[in-house]
Symmetry: C2
Subunit: 385 residues, 2 copies
């Protein structure tokens, strides 16, 4: 495999973009990435998206966007892995560039979710679960995660309030990210008193949906001349793994085995260990997922994830900074775009562009994107050269 | 890029599989491919599918199937490019194996379409067109193709009956394919008198939808020891290209520029010309598409595609045999699976397993899969070693 580098990044604000079509939203991130990279063309376009057939009545998003952004004739395709679609598209683009078949690619994650009523979106999101055995029972996606969180609290003796630092950290960091959906501090008291969604998950345990798009340009590393003042950012590690699609089929529903396996592969490829990771953009769709991800990726012992929050280790100045731009919880979770927001944010950290939530001297960052309830997991490690 | 070979193939019959779930249908093709290849595991699974979110209420088909076929933990992802999803998944798998990142992959195209009413399927298929500018006008997918066919007949002076040989050839060949959906001879008179769908496209110009799945196992070529009596089948060429998504945006709506570009790339990679192709499984979703594909890929001059049918050159004994197993027209068109049926059928030709529709001495075969109205085109060339 050729080594591959990220040449440019682009993103829209995560919001309710009722004034922008799906085309305009994705295009905005693509044009921003091309401008940031200083290129006008790429060989191919890889689009990560989950819901456009259900919400926008649109399939074939690869060509839909290659047409819109002026890449007429160029290869384009859509990759889907539920909420892991963004990073899955990056991995597909990475393989194509690494193989030598193409010399540059744009990868964009895009999702427009707020044009439909909430119950339609809930039904659409449930297509990430097993239609035959989970959805058929009437359980929603948050319902599945609530069952996992309840079991985790029972098994390891944590109280609901012990998860508060995860959400508080995300919201605190998002205040400094102009592209975040939510700009508000939250307190422990607010966390505890917020509306119940699916017990024990309340509103401030859960990430908000949103409309958004984030994109990168990737090229063979040897073709990158560092821009003055900017490091060269390599995709030094990449790993993908799966678990059973239904949570009830797992031997241990409290261990994200696919997160563990995909992180392990990424660590091995990059030649690093968890201790080397300076910043970790994880998939905090729900607060329980932060705990489980930290454990699966080697940052905490089994059942001890919440301890890292309570000890402030997840803050930008801590030992394992997470959600430094707000995470899914406060930057927002436009599902098929999320994985690419994580990548863009890690690049911003490695470039030193994160202002008050900048991790000092960040050189190695990890992004982990999850589809379903830990069913599909794709992990990337980026290294500044 | 490492050279990649096809180690095994599997398929289901194309039919109305009301007795099989989506899982069972796709699984059947996967298990058949693994058995044919003599393997029990592969590193990764690539799934081509277009409609499962809309028809089956299921997303995340990569993990959905890796779970079902026993590839727990392994990488899996879905690739979507409308009716070109099957070949798009193969190309993604090809890049992953060619890059050296993985050493084996299964690629399955699967679609279950007949569990919904016809108007629901028509609406679902329309998501391949541009939702904002085509579907918004109320035009269906067959309606767009009808406009193209009418213009073509006007421009080049063909009559509707001149397209009959394409459909007759497909049906004649399908009689010898046990996996084909339709087993019936048709006559010129029946072709002319069949029910109108969208003028000038009538029922026997159009391919039938269906439920089906087809799969292959791919590995690095150097790892294949030829099975006695079977040649080694290499993926010697692969190319993908796009056009505008809306037909009305094209400078020339009668030329499939993406088909031309993707075939050109595949020819170059394989080091062959159209004259070297022994069998060509093309994307005959409508009879007009057969003519346009033959022209775009260098087998006929512009406007002269129908001549190859009238001269019997498309029969298995002709100079450019097409639809040798029935094509989309008679084998059937389970949309996201079609591209993988084409690949499986070319492998059958190169192995010499096609009985009465065997192309004598076939050594080089091409399969071309199209998403939308020529919007996304992926071409593969297979060579027996």
């Amino acid at each position: 495999m050729r080594q591959v580098a990220i040449l440019g990044i682009g993103q829209t604000k995560v919001s309710e973009h009722w004034d922008k079509s799906l085309k305009e939203l994705g295009g905005e991130a693509c044009f921003a990435a091309m401008q940031d990279a200083g290129v006008k063309k790429v060989d191919a376009l890889f689009v990560g998206n989950m819901l456009s057939p259900l919400i926008d009545g649109q399939n074939q998003l690869g060509t839909f966007f290659s047409d819109w952004v002026g890449l007429w004739g160029h290869e384009a395709v859509k990759v889907e892995a539920a909420c892991g679609s963004g990073a899955a598209a990056l991995r597909a683009g990475l393989m194509a560039v690494a193989s030598g078949e193409i010399d540059s690619a744009m990868v964009v994650g895009v999702e427009k979710m707020t044009d439909k009523a909430g119950h339609d979106v809930t039904a659409a999101l449930a297509t990430a679960a097993d239609a035959d055995y989970e959805v058929e029972q009437g359980v929603s996606f948050v319902g599945i995660n609530a069952l996992v969180m309840r079991r985790y609290m029972h098994e390891y003796g944590w109280q609901h309030a012990d998860f508060a630092p995860f959400s508080i950290n995300a919201h605190t960091n998002a205040l400094h990210n102009p592209n975040a959906r939510l700009h508000m501090n939250i307190t422990l008291e607010q966390f505890e008193k917020s509306s119940m969604v699916s017990t024990p998950i309340n509103l401030l345990d859960a990430s908000p949906i949103g409309d958004g798009a984030a994109a990168v340009i990737i090229v063979p590393a040897e073709k990158v001349n560092s821009v003055p003042g900017r490091p060269r950012i390599l995709i030094s590690g990449s790993g993908a793994a799966t678990d059973t699609i239904a949570v009830h089929s797992r031997k241990d529903p409290l261990f994200l085995s696919a997160a563990h396996a995909s992180a392990k592969r990424a660590y091995e490829m990059a030649g690093v260990t968890p201790q080397d990771i300076d910043v970790f953009e994880l998939h905090d769709a729900f607060s329980i997922m932060t705990a489980l991800s930290l454990e699966a990726c080697g940052f905490a012992e089994r059942g001890q994830g919440p301890r890292l929050g309570l000890d402030n280790e997840i803050r930008p100045e801590g030992s394992v900074p997470v959600c430094t731009r707000g995470g899914l919880k406060a930057r927002g979770h436009p599902v098929g775009a999320t994985g690419m927001y994580q990548i863009v944010e890690v690049v911003q950290q490695l470039r030193g562009e994160c202002g008050k939530t900048q991790v000092d001297g960040a050189k190695i960052g990890m992004a982990q994107n999850i589809g379903g309830s830990g069913a599909t997991v794709i992990t990337h490690i980026l290294t500044s050269d």
